[in-house]
Amino acid sequence: MKRKGEILRKLFWSTLYLSAFTFGGGYVIVTLMKKKFVDQYHWIEENEMLDLIAIAQSSPGAIAVNGAIVVGYKLAGMIGAFTAIVATIIPPFVIISLISVFYNAFRENFLVSQMLEGMQAGVGAVIAAVVYEMGAGIVHGKNPMSLLIMAGAFVAACIFEVNVVYVVIVCGLIGVVRTMAGKRRAGK
């Protein structure tokens, strides 16, 4: 029992630390989780961790949160998952709470508003670069169906302003059909 308390305590502090100091999103954080729990603590085996990461990445929601859930659950069941989630959420929650106080106080300030306006163009460029990279990966895949989905989803979201939830549902269903058709073909 003492060992479980020990694990929970370490789990809490290490996920809190990772969440507070990881810039660059979920893909980075799961890599750091692997370093911590596989290479440093030897709590999880390498192969199993890769599977857990795959689950975190393929489930809906934020990858950092999903990663915390799988690792916490694996180490200490439901309490472990809960501990890891709380530790993952505390840093962004506190930081954004503080920022939103300052945001309301300073948004009207001339220099701050100019700074944020410039950053709008900057973040637009960052998103454009990300889209280019992801889009190029799909174009290079040369799968006609994927290209069709990409074009169709763009037209639906950007031109017809369809609720993106429906786009996700429809494309998910297309994926189900494709996978089942692929299986049937492989079976014959």
Partner: protein, 188 residues
């Protein structure tokens, strides 16, 4: 009532964002800007910028930011709870199924079809951010009223990101500084 709305909105964001990182962005825009009007397009862009510069997933950051703005700290807690609830249920479920069957072909198949759609939706959200930056929110695209300073900053950022592989955080800071400098020069 507002708590329930916040909860349900962020529940959808948590449930339908596949692929991590920017995947949540179009969903947040759909719920928070288009559907409920909790944030203006400028505020939403500021939120994405702030999320880029701080640790933590975009969805969690948004839940905290929007929750506080609409209904204070309790609102932030409710929105964050809604955002992670789907993850908790689905990740645990998939982890259990996976440990039992060791097969994720269907999930991977669905993800393969979702990925192109996610790219398209991120592109669509990025375009609305740029339209807001260059022409102001809700304004028609009019060459005479273009904010050329921001267009130039956008191009500079894109070159720094694509050609020189500069860190996105620094690119955004630079974009802000450039705009401040331009405003000071114009004012002087």
């Amino acid at each position: 009532m507002i708590y329930l709305q916040l909860f349900l909105s962020f529940l959808q964001i948590g449930l339908f964002s596949f692929g991590g990182g920017y995947a949540a962005m179009p969903l947040i825009q759909g719920q928070v800007v288009t559907q409920h009007g909790w944030l203006s397009m400028e505020e939403f862009t500021d939120l994405i910028t702030i999320s880029q510069m701080t640790p933590g997933p975009i969805a969690i950051n948004s839940a905290t930011f929007v929750g506080i703005k609409i209904a204070g700290i309790p609102g932030a807690l409710v929105a964050t709870g809604g955002c992670i609830l789907p993850s908790c249920v689905i990740v645990t479920l998939i982890a259990k199924l996976y440990l039992k069957y060791r097969n994720m072909a269907m999930l991977q198949g669905v993800l393969n079809s979702l990925r192109p759609a996610v790219v398209a939706m991120i592109a669509s959200a990025g375009i609305s951010i740029l339209l807001t930056a260059f022409w102001g929110s809700g304004a028609a695209v009019d060459l005479l009223r273009t904010n050329w300073v921001l267009v130039v900053i956008f191009v500079i950022c894109l070159v720094l990101l694509q050609k020189f592989k500069m860190n996105p955080i620094w690119v955004m800071v630079l974009a802000g500084v450039l705009k401040v400098a331009a405003a000071l020069v114009a004012g002087a």
